[in-house]
Symmetry: C2
Subunit: 141 residues, 2 copies
DNA sequence: TTAAGGTAGATGCAAACGCATGAATCACGA
DNA sequence: TCGTGATTCATGCGTTTGCATCTACCTTAA
């Protein structure tokens, strides 16, 4: 068991523990956490997002994401329109209702996150962000 | 956006990126990553495990885990027998075939993990393990 | 211009999931 | 001892997921 494997296992466990904790909280309304994640990614990225780009940030297969977007469009939370520059693709963005929903869920959830990570010092939070940033490939060349 | 929220978002992104990467690798045979995770948890914990205990380590609902164990028993990878001390519960353990399967997948996967975390220094690996350990509640009192 | 190969997203279908609930057992105070 | 509430795991059922595949469109080069 290398240090790398221990670190990864520890990360996975932390992820599982916190995800279960967040999931159990009563802030999600009639959305699932995964659906909220999609709304969040769209809210974060300002402009419209391509399906493939969004898929890179979400832990879902391409067909599953495609259908989840279907449902979110159906419910009036997401707007999907053809990309004028590439007629294969689509441009996804939040509707006003979607933005509102994202905020209504995101605010209390953000507080939960802050509370859950309250066991860490400021230095540790900084280190965690830097280290996981490297893992996600933020420093790639 | 607090530091805590940034750190959590970064952790989630690292998790998503690495999980997608690992999932794309051709080491899982006819198991899903989730099924492998169950085998791994069982292999790690030496003795037999209760369903509820196992469920604490796996990101699945209790019914989903119950049925996944069904399938693994069906396939001869897991042994499920009644707990003599508590007739509501069960004791789960790997069969020899299950242990073999876990190792056959675990070895190459462990190498992938080591490779993926190779971007981190020894100090960073150590910090990551400590910090995520705290998040998972290893230091509770 | 056009053929060949690549990329974006949608769809058919079987498998797996979560929620609500059920049956059995345990724990504990009256 | 008995009854009330909690705990453990299983099951019914509608929804969601992933895999394989499809269509449509873009790109490149001859």
């Amino acid at each position: 068991m290398t240090r790398a494997n221990e670190a990864w296992e520890s990360l996975m466990k932390a992820y599982a523990v916190l995800m279960k904790q967040f999931n159990a909280e009563d802030v999600w309304g009639d959305l699932t956490m995964r659906e909220y994640d999609v709304l969040y990614q769209l809210s974060k990225c300002g402009g419209p997002l391509r399906m493939s780009e969004l898929n890179r940030h979400v832990l879902l297969s391409q067909p599953a994401l495609s259908r989840m977007v279907d449902r979110l469009v159906e419910r009036g939370l997401v707007d999907r329109c053809p990309d004028p520059g590439d007629r294969r693709g689509v441009r996804l963005s939040l509707t006003p209702a979607g933005r509102e929903t994202q905020l209504a869920i995101g605010r209390p959830h953000a507080r939960s996150v802050t509370r859950a990570l309250g066991v860490l010092s400021a230095d540790e939070l900084e280190q965690l962000a830097v280290i996981t940033g490297k893992l996600a490939g933020n420093e790639e060349r």
